[in-house]
């Protein structure tokens, strides 16, 4: 639930539908259609549905609506699963569903954890094909960059490296399902 002042704020509506209610709970709009009586009001309360990412009709992740951009990136990354063996004509292998799921579940869980701990929404990373069937998760800004690699062998550790394009660096390996999440927060917060 988010309160906004329509006169001063811009709001990007979530793709999964929305409802706008006036403060005294008289409905105005639903999914873009106009319902009820128009009324001058500066303040609205917006109820949003949480976006979900589904694969083969199964919900893979569900994110709070504030992670709209991350949800969109995860949706976009589904193209990785459509890449077939030798998709780059250089012998790159196809990507396993389990690897992709591990990558997006790690990313969404991490985003939620950071928000719970700090009330901050992490920048949206790029989810991209990695070498040898692995998946890369890349944060890149003018001030810092962080690359996490989720291997195709789910028993293997994920690896990460980040820096501020200068002397401050962070690197190591971790289990994506169970690790010190504050470790990565360091670089995302510091720079």
């Amino acid at each position: 639930m988010i309160g906004i002042h329509l006169k001063t704020n811009e709001f990007r509506f979530p793709k999964h539908g929305y409802q706008i209610w006036s403060k005294n709970s008289k409905q105005f709009f639903k999914n873009g259609k106009d319902y009820g009586i128009r009324k001058k009001a500066n303040e609205f309360v917006i109820y949003e549905e949480n976006p979900t990412v589904t694969l083969k009709n199964t919900v893979t992740i569900e994110l709070p609506s504030r992670f709209y951009e991350l949800d969109r990136e995860v949706e976009n990354s589904k193209y990785i699963l459509a890449l077939e063996n030798d998709w780059d004509d250089e012998g790159s292998v196809a990507y396993q569903e389990a690897t992709w799921k591990k990558a997006i579940q790690f990313t969404s869980n991490y985003a939620k954890w950071v928000f719970d701990e700090t009330s901050r929404v992490i920048p949206t990373p790029k989810i991209a094909p990695g070498p040898n069937g692995s998946i890369d998760i890349l944060w890149k800004s003018p001030n810092y960059r962080l690359l996490i690699n989720i291997p195709d062998n789910l028993k293997k550790q994920a690896s990460f490296y980040g820096d501020n394009y200068s002397t401050d660096t962070i690197e190591g390996t971790f289990n994506p399902s169970n690790f010190n999440q504050g470790l990565l927060l360091t670089i995302l917060n510091l720079y």
């Binding site: 780059d88 004509d89 250089e90 991209a128 094909p129 040898n132 890369d136 990460f160």
Partner: protein, 137 residues
């Protein structure tokens, strides 16, 4: 057989990049990886002494879908990667891969190329020779 030569530190090495590795104009670091097995394993590049970027682009199945970048040998060695001239001769065309032909320019980059730190550093080092969007002629 061509002799294996020592590659000078200032030499450019050309590396093909398939368009699928490019997202919103940026190269994904996953493109940097070694191929092949055992002694032939390495990131395949072409040495400028025996290849132009255009020739390098044509050494693949779909040149129209590939661009070419370059690395400077010194930069790669600075990352503790080995740069080894690896020319090869194909006597009989490979049925499944007829575009693979003898290549005197072929050079393997060996080492921990897939390491996350190395791949990010490789992103800093390359320069475009030919964008994938450029027409062949």
């Amino acid at each position: 057989m061509w002799p294996v030569e020592k590659i000078p530190i200032k030499s450019r090495l050309f590396y093909r990049i398939h368009e699928t590795w490019i997202d919103e104009g940026e190269v994904n670091p996953g493109v940097f990886q070694q191929r092949g097995e055992k002694t032939k394993k390495g990131m395949s590049t072409d040495w400028e002494k025996y290849s132009s970027p255009q020739q390098s682009r044509l050494r693949c199945k779909n040149p129209r879908k590939n661009g070419v970048i370059n690395f400077i040998t010194k930069d790669l060695r600075g990352l503790q990667l080995e740069v080894i001239h690896s020319p090869f001769i194909i006597n009989e065309p490979i049925k499944e891969k007829p575009w693979i032909k003898s290549n005197r320019a072929h050079t393997n980059v060996k080492g921990d190329v897939e390491n996350v730190k190395i791949r990010l550093q490789l992103l800093d080092l390359f320069k475009w020779e030919i964008q994938p969007s450029k027409p062949l002629n």
